[in-house]
Symmetry: C2
Subunit: 337 residues, 2 copies
């Protein structure tokens, strides 16, 4: 029997950018993109960690403008599709055109899991200029399978090439993934991808669960480089998919070498699950909540972990950081009652 083909989407140069404070140099980006291309990765994502035009005081400045990195990477990427991430509200259609002009062939347009509609214009524009376009739903643990299907259909209707589901907080267990991916598989015709974080130590298992339910694209980074506990480790997932009889098209020893010889030397810290990242996964909240939470905890003499759990319970989303202080105040009142 022919092996089922799984496309490996490496986002070391995008999600991994968070873990090196957006400090990739032209030399590093070229080495990584070139290495990934050579070993058979399907898509290579390169952008500021928060997507194109993310470089800012608020989200962290890129050391080298991403357009320059893209241009350099485009010279060495021969077989893979060079891809950018775009978060509507941060990146614009103008930025997307610029990314294409600098060599990007695909864009993934990412929105909160319930807000696919704000991505319609970007996806339509990408398709109109001949780019591959992917609809990307973040924080998907916060929505039911039914809600996710509804949102995915918005992407399908505007012409997306595939739907990528993201467990942005690393909160899901394999059964959570199975429920969501199988619902999509049963409802939409275009391919499905999955993006995982390792906050609960489950990113490889969740990715395998997604593949088993029908996902055909999987997001990874070399050595798991990424925000918080990091992403699914590329070389590890490729080894497991190989063991399980899938065809990733990736040369296994080759990707191990890219991770160990090119990416690991660049890393600023090992990608481990510490208390902070574990709590983000356990509570199911954005990593951007962490700093605000620690500040609020100090102010109100609370355990920051109790605040994170409460934020998760209330389903707080990115952009609501201001409300953390209110939640902390309420918790402190309950405590003194």
């Amino acid at each position: 029997m022919e092996k089922r083909k799984i496309k490996i989407v490496d986002t070391t140069l995008r999600d991994g950018s968070h873990a090196v404070s957006h400090s990739f140099t032209v030399e590093q980006a070229t080495a990584i993109a070139g290495g990934l291309d050579k070993v058979g990765v399907s898509l290579i994502e390169l952008s500021h960690g928060d997507g194109i035009a993310g470089s800012s005081i608020n989200y962290g400045m890129s050391k080298v403008p991403e357009m320059e990195l893209l241009r350099a990477a485009s010279k060495v990427v021969k077989n893979a599709k060079l891809t950018v991430l775009l978060l509507p509200g941060i990146g614009t259609i103008e930025d997307l055109q610029q990314a294409k002009d600098n060599g990007a062939q695909a864009v993934r347009v990412a929105t909160h899991v319930t807000e696919a509609d704000i991505a319609i214009q970007h996806i339509k524009y990408a398709k109109s200029i001949g780019m591959m376009a992917v609809g990307f739903l973040m924080m998907s643990h916060m929505a039911s399978p039914e809600k996710i299907v509804e949102q995915a259909k918005i992407f399908v209707d505007c012409g997306a090439d595939y739907i990528n589901l993201a467990d942005s907080a690393g909160h899901m267990v394999p059964d959570d993934v199975r429920a969501r991916i199988s619902a999509l598989k049963n409802s939409i015709e275009i391919p499905i991808g999955f993006h995982s974080h390792n906050n609960l130590g489950l990113s490889v298992a969740n990715s395998i669960a997604a593949v088993e339910e029908g996902a055909s694209y999987v997001d990874v980074t070399c050595r798991g480089l990424g925000a918080g506990a990091g992403n699914t480790q590329n070389e590890v997932l490729c080894a497991v998919l190989d063991r399980l009889g899938y065809d990733t098209g990736v040369d296994l020893y080759g990707i191990m070498d890219v991770a160990e010889e090119i990416v690991e030397p660049i890393m600023q810290r090992p990608q481990i699950v510490n208390t902070a990242s574990l709590m983000l996964g356990y509570a199911g909240v954005y990593s951007s909540f962490l700093l605000h939470t620690y500040r609020a905890a100090e102010k109100f003499h609370l355990n920051p972990r109790d605040i994170l759990v409460e934020l998760g319970r209330r389903g707080m989303v990115g952009g609501q950081e201001d409300m953390i202080i209110d939640v902390a105040f309420e918790l402190s009142q309950q405590k003194t009652r």
Copy 2:
């Protein structure tokens, strides 16, 4: 509904000992054992990494004799059972008696998955002196569920309190675990435990699979400290089990603090999946093969990874390190043919 109870078996002071070159001091062992006891761990295993009497030129010398560490730990362990590991052939019944005299309340007698019979005398002796005794099957990916049941019954017949199945090479995927644990669950009456390594990034998922199939003891270490890619990370597994509605009896924030404040500062390197540990898991071979393999690869101008895969294919077991050179020779002959 009452939550199902899962007993957490922390082996930071035994399997974790490999990852600090058996250098635990009395102060460190006391701090770790005391911390684990306080937060509600059920069993605390403390021995040389290769079990009692493992300290030797061959397996690595312990900085502090394990009997001294045991004695110190026994003074702070109030609720958990202080446990030792014993590998017949390395440790003896005399060593076991000495461990009991120094405070050990339980022993886990570990053999290769097909050699349970060499543990009978040790388990019977342990029971005769009032210790808890556990039958421990290593490298269990190398045996079928049926074979494992047969071996487990040897332990049951000699009075073992529970059976612990170990994925010593970190080679299994969740379905491998499910097949083995469910076979045991259907065939024996005593409790079942599971011991995992993270070489394929699956230790948390495999432990969850074991629990779902009926295992009630799970081996872990703080921060995953252990040989190769390390063990299942205690604080992460406790968080996931809590999310899934199991009762570990472990204070979640407490175990996070033990890992971050007591264990992490002692670690000599972060517990990551690098090429070496990934290859051990992928090939399914003992970590003791690694050094011999690299030497043989150099001698015969081979990729060490090809040798490891071949060793796994042939089902080579610990003690057969001498044959690695023969395998390398054969591979080199094939290459030049």
